[in-house]
């Protein structure tokens, strides 16, 4: 369930919203006032009603008045905007840091215990500092209910922070166009009570069991699901259903060849994704994960893929 606007969804909402009310209030007042005057003049001074115009070249006093008043108003607006924004760049010292990773086309959140999720879990009344990392192109993390947004620029770490005062689930969108599945790049932030959060945090770090369980967690962690389905449906990348030791048609150096998706092929596809591109898929869509996924993690992923019959 996604919460609509509420005043304490984040600590910034009331300040940003009062800036909105001030700016929109003045804007609407001027829009209506000027429009009413204009329509009245058109009606009152139409030719049939007023056949002879009066020659008026201007009025210095009026010009000064309508330069000075808007100047004062916009300076006040500037101040409101600046005051409401300033605190967004000042992170409290006791903030809890969560690493946030954006890649085409999913978000990932990595907590201090090493667990990674695709939904952001945070406790209520706790300042949260998101360390922003983009791995491929520009993204922008946007939480409308919290009134915050920050671009995620590859090679330029940045941050965004908030403190939520209301338990609930709020949308997270990617606001910066990032290619094919930009509009599907969305997730949610779940604000939990401290007890619920602690329980979740403790439970999350316990390793799951069963064949390929670690690999499944990695599949989530690195956001692979954003482009590769496990049920056979075609997304941006080929589905991984039944991939292991099956035949695939790939394009290698412009030639169409058939090969078997063995462990070596899967590893190469993760480290050099554009070496062999499965037929009917576009090269260049995936970046190399060599710096992110370790050798043993690849093996764990392969164990997981084996279960996808």
């Amino acid at each position: 369930m996604i919460e609509e606007t509420t005043n304490n969804a984040s600590n910034f909402v009331s300040e940003v919203d009062s800036a909105f009310v001030f700016i929109f209030g003045i804007s609407l007042f001027f829009l209506f006032a000027i429009t009413i005057v204009m329509v009245y003049y058109v009606f009152r001074y139409r030719k049939s009603k007023n056949p002879k115009a009066t020659h008026i070249e201007g009025n210095h006093k009026l010009e000064i008045i309508w330069t000075v008043i808007p100047t004062i108003l916009v300076v006040i607006m500037f101040y409101y905007g600046w005051a409401g924004w300033k605190s967004q760049r000042e992170v409290p010292e006791d903030a809890m840091t969560i690493k946030s990773i954006a890649r085409m086309w999913s978000f990932g959140f990595e907590y201090e215990n090493g667990v990674t999720t695709d939904t952001l879990y945070v406790p209520i009344h706790q300042p949260i500092n998101l360390d922003l990392v983009a791995v491929d192109v520009l993204h922008s993390i946007y939480i409308p209910a919290f009134r915050i947004k920050q671009d995620m620029v590859p090679g330029k770490p940045d941050f965004i922070w908030f403190e939520s005062g209301k338990i609930g689930e709020y949308e997270i969108f990617c606001a910066e166009y990032c290619g094919l599945r930009h509009s599907f790049m969305k997730t949610a932030v779940k604000v939990l009570s401290q007890e619920d959060y602690d329980a979740w945090y403790k439970g999350s770090s316990q390793t799951a069991e069963g064949a390929g369980a670690e690999g499944k967690a990695l599949f989530q962690k690195f956001g692979c699901f954003a482009c590769h389905s496990i049920d056979g449906s075609k997304l941006v990348g080929p589905s991984l259903k039944g991939i292991f030791n099956n035949k695939r048609m790939v394009i290698k150096d412009g030639e169409e060849i058939e090969l078997v998706a063995d462990a070596e092929y899967i590893k190469r596809s993760i480290y050099e994704p554009n070496a062999d591109v499965v037929k009917d898929f576009v090269p260049g869509m995936m970046v190399s994960y060599k710096a992110m996924i370790k050798d043993e993690e690849v093996d764990q992923l392969i164990e997981y893929f084996k279960t996808l019959e």
Partner: protein, 536 residues
């Protein structure tokens, strides 16, 4: 003098015998009026293409999920819509069409200062347009980066970014040459007696625009060349994978592209400043204040580009400096609005189609400008940046502002350009439909933005559905209005009643020459003694 005699001595520029015949008599003509019409026909063609793409986008957004097209197609369509509308329609729009046709006549000259350069500008425009659109017919399809070509995505995508970029580069030269030509024309070719402050306001705005074209366009030129260098030779300017900086790209892009908005809007304001006094039968209120605010907009407009990047991670000092400057540029725009409205006070108003376009311009321009205030303030910008709110704001300025001014200008100067009158009732019907359609199309997008819908969205969550349906329906009403307007004008250009020299009672020099003008506009260069809008 009878009609017959006047036809013998006064040959319209359309019927003049030249070296070439037929189409060649137009595409090789150095007559500023023919070049103006060449621009008109080419720009209208691209405009209609852009409209079709826009309607297709609205159709896709009518409901969540896939409606009529795949995301690949949608992304390419919104990119092409932006590239075509910005680079091929709105930037050249008013200066190239009405500036070419009317600047020399309004200042009492026989042509622009460099007629051959003027023709070359048009040829460059056509070449640039063809190069930019050639990507449509190439294997990997048109670019899907958005018209901003933001790095590093524009280096990662496999679509044909280069043709669009090289096309925009060529178009930049067309724009620069037009700017130089107009500035020299205004400096050197004003009629005797026409001091700077006796010059009409439309030429004044072309003067401000000319300087922006000369000073800002080279920056986008060099930026586009850097993209070419990066894509072809892997020189790392912008792509972090090569050691470049994506934020640098955004700075360079907006240093041009923000002033470009003023290239678009200043001549639009100029056209409105011509239409209002003519139909009010009254001199414009605060002529000098309007001139000074024009120059102020052109000048301050250079220093506000950073407001496109409030969430990009720039330093805090840069953010509030740009925010303050952005607010300052609002003031001269407000002054203009107050002056236009005051002109109507104690006027004697002829209620004709061009006047309705001008008054509705003031209304939609106010919505566009006032919505810009919420985008200029930092706290509110962070929430609204990259949402549908920005798209609505931008379209209220560029389609509402420039578009309404364009349609007002064409209804105003139509009798002079074609020497015929259009059907006045049908013109007003077209305006009513267009006005309703326009507001139905874009007002809901403000609400979508405030409630958090990002822009460039192929798909959206269910709670955004309602306003999107309304917006799509608005696009159809707007389209119907546009069809009525175009039908009326095209039909009247051939079959309309012949127009007199001065159908609206205007006071500027274009209303003293024939409709349509002769090749050299004036038999004798006029002597100017009065201000441009003296209705006493």
């Amino acid at each position: 003098m009878t009609q017959n005699e006047s036809n013998q001595t006064h040959v319209s520029f359309r019927d003049v015998e030249t070296r070439f015949k037929g189409l060649f008599a137009w595409v090789f003509s150095t007559d500023h009026k023919r070049i103006g019409l060449l621009y008109l026909y080419s720009i209208v063609t691209f405009f209609l293409t852009g409209v079709a793409l826009g309607i297709a986008m609205k159709l896709e957004l009518m409901a969540p999920g896939r409606d009529v097209m795949d995301p690949e197609t949608y992304n390419a369509i919104f990119t092409l819509h932006g590239v075509i509308m910005i680079f091929l329609v709105v930037v050249p729009g008013l200066p190239a069409i009405f500036g070419n046709f009317f600047l020399p006549i309004m200042i009492g000259a026989k042509d622009v200062a460099f007629p051959k350069l003027n023709l070359m500008s048009w040829w460059l425009y056509v070449l640039g347009a063809l190069v930019a659109l050639s990507s449509l017919f190439m294997a990997d399809g048109p670019p899907d980066t958005g018209w901003t070509f933001y790095a590093p995505y524009s280096f990662k995508t496999n679509t044909n970014v280069l043709p669009a970029v090289i096309g925009a580069f060529i178009l930049g030269f067309s724009s620069i040459l037009t700017g130089i030509n107009f500035i020299v024309t205004i400096h050197r070719l004003r009629a005797p007696g026409m001091g700077w402050f006796k010059m009409p306001l439309f030429p004044w705005t072309l003067y401000g625009t000319g300087w922006i074209q000369i000073l800002a366009t080279p920056i986008v030129g060099i930026t586009l060349l850097m993209i070419v260098g990066e894509r072809l030779f892997s020189i790392g300017f912008f792509d972090p994978a090569l050691g470049g900086d994506p934020i640098l790209y955004q700075h360079l892009f907006w240093i041009y592209s923000h002033p470009a908005v003023y290239i678009m809007i200043l001549p639009a304001m100029g056209a409105i400043s011509e239409i209002i006094p003519t139909f009010a039968n009254k001199t414009i209120f605060g002529y000098k204040a309007i001139v000074i605010s024009t120059l102020a907009i052109a000048f301050v407009g250079y220093f506000v580009w950073g407001h496109h990047m409030f969430t990009s991670g720039m330093s805090g000092t840069a953010l509030y400096t740009f925010s303050l400057l952005t607010f300052l540029v609002a003031i001269p725009s407000a002054i203009k609005v107050f002056n236009w409205v005051s002109t109507l006070h104690k006027a004697s108003i002829q209620l004709e189609a061009p006047f309705f376009w001008a008054v509705s311009f003031v209304f939609v321009f106010m919505i566009g400008g006032l919505s810009g205030l919420a985008l200029g303030a930092l706290a509110t910008n962070v929430h609204l940046h990259d949402t549908a709110f920005v798209v609505a704001h931008f379209h209220y300025i560029v389609f509402g502002g420039v578009g309404f001014a364009f349609l007002g200008a064409i209804h105003y100067w139509f009798p002079k350009m074609w020497g015929r009158m259009y059907n006045k009732k049908r013109a007003i019907t077209g305006w009513v439909l267009f006005f309703i359609g326009f507001n139905t199309l874009y007002l809901p997008m403000f609400f979508l933005g405030i409630s958090g819908m990002p822009r460039r969205y192929y798909d959206y969550v269910e709670r955004f559905h309602g306003p999107n349906i309304v917006s799509t329906i608005g696009s159809w009403v707007l389209l119907i209005g546009l069809v009525v307007i175009i039908y009326n004008l095209v039909r009247s250009a051939k079959k309309g009643e012949p127009a007199v020299k001065n159908p609206w009672g205007g006071k500027t020099l274009e209303w003293t020459v024939d409709s349509p003008p002769t090749l050299e506009n004036f038999e004798d260069i006029p002597e100017v003694t009065k201000g441009p809008y003296d209705y006493r």
